[in-house]
């Protein structure tokens, strides 16, 4: 009996198996011109209550991965399993039910909020769609999430329109909207990259508090490695549609195995007057095209430690140099 409860506890809320999301390119309307391989073989398990950070440059596939998990794209191959249910088997109604378990916090809060709707309207919409029609219940829930994201006194905000709020407040509304259906998982796509430094910390702390109180699983997408240390347990580094390194945050900051991770960490400045006196060691070139990715390891053309005859030929599998810390790189064979 005891072990069984433990098992359900440890069962991941989300499982992603060898997920591929390719977008078709067409030429002259009909002819197929190839695929953009935005996500190309990603697997992981996300336990309940864990915050996972996806870090990578633009075009590395992090947003596509999140949107596929949210059920906004149909995976090309592989599967997403949420609480034991396979996403690819869900039909229309079930899909809506599935989506109500997930919250989405978008990057640009102003762009994510309809300008002609009051905050009450914005928050009522998801409830209407998901069958919460009782007015009193709607009102109760709105008050509850507004208290939670600290938009108080609630009555001052509820009739306002998005343009009347500051950037930080708009982002709170987006978070409130993501929370209104009481989801079990939240995908936050660069939730703070448009905000100023001090507001950024405020919003990240808010997200962290909500996560802990509700034991939410969070997928936190960012290009800013420095915030990750404070707001997540595990971190995945994405490069050219693949997760090249996966590790608990502290482990990754201490031992960064993949040469790309090393380059990323070397590129990020902490505020320090010494920075102005030295040059940073940055690999040459740019991330590859996802239509024709390089053979073998996708980082090999830029990699200072590339092994001739291996890295450009064979794609590296996942190695585990430390327990729970995996890396797709031949150096750790």
């Amino acid at each position: 009996m005891q072990t069984q409860t433990l098992d359900t506890q440890n069962q991941p809320i989300l499982e992603v198996n060898d997920l591929r999301q390719w977008f078709e390119l067409r030429k002259f309307v009909f002819a197929r011109a190839g695929y953009v391989r935005a996500v190309d073989g990603v697997s992981f398990r996300l336990p309940r209550g864990e915050a996972l950070a996806l870090v990578g440059e633009s075009g590395s596939g992090k947003t596509t991965l999140a949107r596929t998990i949210l059920g906004l794209y149909k995976p090309t191959a592989g599967d997403v399993i949420f609480e034991g249910l396979s996403l690819s088997k869900l039909k229309h109604r079930k899909m809506r039910e599935y989506r109500s378990n997930l919250g989405y916090v978008q990057q640009d809060p102003y762009g994510a909020l309809p300008p002609f709707m009051s905050l009450r309207g914005i928050l009522t919409e998801p409830m209407k769609i998901n069958g919460i029609r009782d007015k009193a219940e709607q009102d109760r829930r709105i008050r509850e999430v507004f208290e939670e994201v600290k938009l108080t006194p609630v009555d001052n905000y509820i009739t306002k329109f998005p343009h009347m709020l500051s950037g930080g407040q708009q982002q709170r509304v987006v978070i409130a909207r993501a929370m209104i259906l009481r989801p079990k998982l939240i995908a936050a796509d660069e939730p703070v990259s448009m905000l100023d430094a001090s507001v950024r910390v405020e919003i990240l702390r808010l997200l962290r508090r909500i996560q802990e109180e509700h034991n939410l699983a969070v997928i936190y997408i960012t290009h800013d490695l420095s915030t990750v240390r404070y707001f997540s347990e595990r971190i995945f580094i994405m490069y050219a549609a693949k997760t090249v390194e996966k590790a608990p945050v502290e482990s990754l900051l201490e031992h960064h195995f993949h040469p790309y991770t090393q380059a990323l960490l070397a590129a990020i400045p902490d505020p320090d007057p010494e920075n102005a006196k030295r040059f940073r060691d940055i690999p040459p070139g740019e991330p590859p095209s996802l239509v024709n990715p390089p053979s073998g390891c996708r980082f090999h053309p830029r990699c200072p430690q590339s092994i001739d005859g291996l890295c450009e030929v064979d794609e590296p599998p996942e190695f585990e140099p430390l327990p729970g810390h995996t890396v797709e790189c031949w150096l750790y064979k």
């Binding site: 930080g168 507001v199 910390v201 940073r280």
Partner: protein, 318 residues
């Protein structure tokens, strides 16, 4: 005493709106020496970009007040006629790398022609000579000269940003103003661009004003830090002083909110919002959010010059 490259005195720039005057730049004073890199740091809406507009005289139509003096070496550029300013100062002596530089290139003109255009327009060079110089600055910023004959869409984001920097350098101006030069770029590209700028500073002794809200990036290229809050400068200190031990309570809070990768610290945020610049408070503008506020703060503090060379606009340092 070193020669002053730029002296800004009592600079004001207010904008007219339907609700009154927005006091975006409200009595700014600072100076910089040659070969100096000045980082202007502040949150959005604090007047950083308006300050640049005021210095370069890139004014919108709804100007309410525009006064003060901006002296570049020996010329008070505010006193020049618009025509003289345009031909002799703007771009020739002070150039700009603008925000959102990704879209700052004309999509239907070859990159080389755009980069060399300032020479043709401002210095009357022939197109051929101008292109030769464009090739030179392209080498300087690390873009292959093959790209001179390409169009903007054929360049990656990082290369476009380098081309824009090349355009700002081509006239060999005394001062280059960088307005958020890297904020739209990826991490590695950003570090690359900073390397380019550092190289230019080292090799050409180029002077920069570097404007950004990203404190960590400013530390890559600055000799001094200037902190702006609600239209005022609240602190001017050397890079050492500023990044290691800022004095103004706002600078301290701002620094405490910057996440660091190498060491773990307790991150703080500043409760509340900056005041409206339509109707700013009469006393210290930061007082309402300040953790060290006391009675004096009801009155506006002057800029106190401290012995170690810092300037701080706060009664704590009287």
């Amino acid at each position: 005493m070193e020669e002053k490259l730029l002296q800004v005195k009592d600079l004001y720039l207010y904008f007219r709106t339907s609700q009154g005057a927005v006091q975006a730049v409200d009595g700014i004073n600072f100076e910089m020496a040659r070969d100096d890199a000045l980082a202007v740091i502040g949150e959005s809406g604090c007047g950083k970009t308006s300050l640049i507009r005021a210095i370069l005289r890139l004014l919108p139509r709804n100007v309410h007040t525009y006064k003060g003096s901006v002296v570049l070496l020996d010329t008070d550029v505010m006193k020049l006629s618009e025509e003289r300013f345009r031909t002799n100062v703007r771009w020739r002596r002070m150039s700009l790398v603008s925000q959102a530089a990704m879209n700052a290139l004309n999509p239907v003109i070859r990159v080389g022609d755009q980069v060399s255009e300032p020479l043709v327009v401002h210095q009357g060079l022939s197109k051929r000579d101008a292109l030769a110089q464009a090739a030179e600055v392209f080498r300087l910023v690390g873009v292959s000269t093959d790209f001179l004959s390409r169009y903007a869409f054929e360049l990656s984001g990082g290369m476009r940003q380098r081309a824009i920097i090349a355009m700002a350098l081509i006239t060999k101006p005394e001062l280059v103003i960088l307005d958020e030069p890297t904020s739209a770029l990826d991490m590695l590209t950003q570090a690359n661009i900073m390397n380019v700028l550092k190289g230019i500073k080292r090799d050409l002794q180029q002077s920069f004003i570097f404007i950004t809200h990203d404190v960590a990036t400013t530390s890559e290229l600055s000799d001094r830090g200037v902190v702006m809050y609600a239209g005022h400068i609240v602190e001017i200190s050397s890079a050492e002083q500023f990044y290691l031990n800022p004095f103004h309570p706002y600078s301290q809070k701002l620094m405490a909110s910057v996440p660091t990768l190498k060491v773990r610290k307790e991150l703080e945020f500043i409760p509340g919002q900056p005041p409206s610049l339509l109707n700013p408070p009469t006393g210290c503008r930061f007082a309402e959010r300040c953790h060290r506020r006391f009675d004096m703060c009801e009155q506006e503090p002057p800029m106190f010059a401290l012995e170690d060379g810092r300037q701080v606009k706060c009664w704590l340092y009287k």
